[in-house]
Symmetry: C2
Subunit: 346 residues, 2 copies
């Protein structure tokens, strides 16, 4: 209840019989301040319980030490890992995060971008919504010179850095792996073709087929939102096919779809991997729980988040420029588990 007045640099100044300017400088280790005075200022500050007023500071300096983050959805294990990495990297340099989600819709994404802009974030980190077709809503940032870093679901843009993994190669490897297991009718569960991650995974899939002289079959491409329901639906789609034309393998663009497709197929008596081999993408916790364990691509959301923020902060500090480093590609590895080991099974 005691509405105590805030301690300001003036209080410290008065306390020490020096000027507020000196206090201001002393507090941020300005080079021209006497070591002794600086020490006295620090002591007085902590004694009086001084706390920098970030608004006053931001108002003057135009710096907020706040980064804006827009993710498609908060409740996903991958996104949560990314945020953890971002928070750690930001914290290390004294930055805070303002986080919002687009719920996979452009309109909310636009609104979020406006909020971030109004809040004057020092930089923006974005993973695009499912249906975003252009990035006009980010123009205010570009025009004002506020750095934007895309991660995972990126958009080609000259002045921005993108932090991704090599989706093409990973998809290629996983498809190649299935081909080497003897699979020839490999179905692909893909996502929205507006998003690089899904087009690249499809591209890798197609290229692998080509390299193995397997022609691409449109019937074996199933595009969806890749959620639990989509996985189940894909299974129904497969079950409706004549047994002879059914796929002998499924490569899903994420683990959620793969796993729920598996569950439905298993319930229908399909054996995995002997009838149909499976592979997913993400190395989600569920991939280690499903039986048989799911072959997938592991990549660290944590490191993506960390790299994205570190790059952004470096840029803010003038250490690196977003023009110089346009794309950061993080490692991703194929993890082979029983769901695709056709030769070992039985």
């Amino acid at each position: 209840m005691a509405e105590e007045k805030e301690i300001t640099i003036y209080d410290i100044a008065r306390h020490l019989n020096i000027s507020a300017t000196t206090v201001s400088r002393g507090l941020k280790d300005h080079p021209t301040i006497n070591k002794n005075t600086r020490k006295k200022i620090a002591e007085a500050a902590s004694k009086l319980g001084y706390q920098t007023n970030t608004f006053a500071s931001s108002l003057r300096s135009k710096k907020t030490y706040t980064l804006g983050i827009i993710v498609p959805r908060l409740n996903s294990y991958f996104v949560a890992s990314v945020l953890a990495g971002m928070e750690d990297a930001a914290d290390k340099d004294g930055y805070n995060l303002i986080i919002s989600h687009s719920l996979e819709s452009v309109s909310k994404e636009i609104q979020n971008a406006q909020t971030m802009f109004a809040k004057r974030v020092d930089g923006l980190l974005v993973s695009l919504a499912y249906d975003t077709e252009n990035i006009d809503h980010l123009l205010p940032f570009f025009n004002k010179g506020i750095p934007v870093v895309f991660f995972d679901r990126v958009f080609p843009h000259n002045d921005s850095t993108s932090v991704i993994i090599d989706n093409y190669t990973s998809a290629y490897q996983i498809t190649k792996h299935l081909l080497e297991q003897g699979c020839r009718r490999i179905m692909h569960l893909g996502g929205n073709m507006l998003r690089n991650v899904y087009t690249e995974r499809l591209r890798g899939y197609k290229q692998a087929l080509k390299d193995y002289k397997v022609s691409f079959n449109k019937q074996l491409l199933y595009i969806s939102t890749l959620n639990e329901q989509s996985g189940t639906d894909a299974a129904e789609y497969i079950l409706k096919m004549k047994p002879a034309t059914r796929p002998d393998a499924v490569f899903a663009a994420n683990d959620t779809a793969a796993v729920h497709c598996m569950i439905r197929l298993k319930a229908a008596g399909i054996r995995i991997p002997s009838d149909i081999a499976f592979a997913g993408f993400n190395n989600d916790p569920i991939s280690k729980v499903i039986e048989p364990n799911l072959t997938t691509v592991n990549y660290s959301g944590y490191h993506i988040g960390e790299a994205a923020v570190t790059n952004l902060i470096n840029h803010l500090n003038g250490i690196s420029s977003t023009k110089k480093t346009n794309t950061i590609i993080l490692r991703s590895d194929l993890i082979i588990r029983e769901s695709s080991e056709k030769n070992k099974s039985l």
Copy 2:
């Protein structure tokens, strides 16, 4: 590169030949402003591309429209759901979230609290770290009258609201269910006894045993951090017991521990539920993937987050007081799946 100057209310004022005061009032729908002037102001504002400077506003009004959130860890499905609920509720009233994680350690939690305080958040939402023993680090908030809302992992405090579920009753119900399946040697995998959620779950477990005249056996209580490794370790612990003294059921305080304990036991040839029945807590996605599907307690992180933020904002608006509503208990339901249906199996 074009470092354009920001548009201020003075620019609008000049544009319309009125005073900045009027503009300020018009912009926020102050009652004493002429409808017509208000309209003109709004038009000029959008025409000139005006954006409120939140720092200047916060500096003057002492209001930040920002809520601080401290969670134990970001990368958990439950936490992610909570954040989604919080973000939606906050967004509805124009509030932003600054999110940080304690990584389950008090020291980081203390540091986070200081940052939040320095950033002058209007309110704080906290779920405590694993080893937090007191909340002295929140005293600055209490002293300054900044409302604090605890959620999930709460701490008894008179001036704060807690948003939780009835962990005791849920644990009681789940234990009762196992007892009714005929289980008599029910093992409990519990968490840190500093945290309400785990003490309450243990309490419910014990009470159910008592009501069914089953004496509590210390050997059947396994306290851990409840992560994947802990689940596996618990399984090893069980496997080391003489078969005759092994539990005939396991009730874990979260799904992660339950599932990974199951996986290890299954690998050792133990049949579930016939040899050992299983129940978890959380209704995590993995509970629907493990075979047999895991009996658990479902409760919505989303709603917890939503309720916590809504309550906090209501309090800030003076609609409700944290003194009046001290605890909000959200519904949670027992979900019975095959992992515990002893009578149906075989």
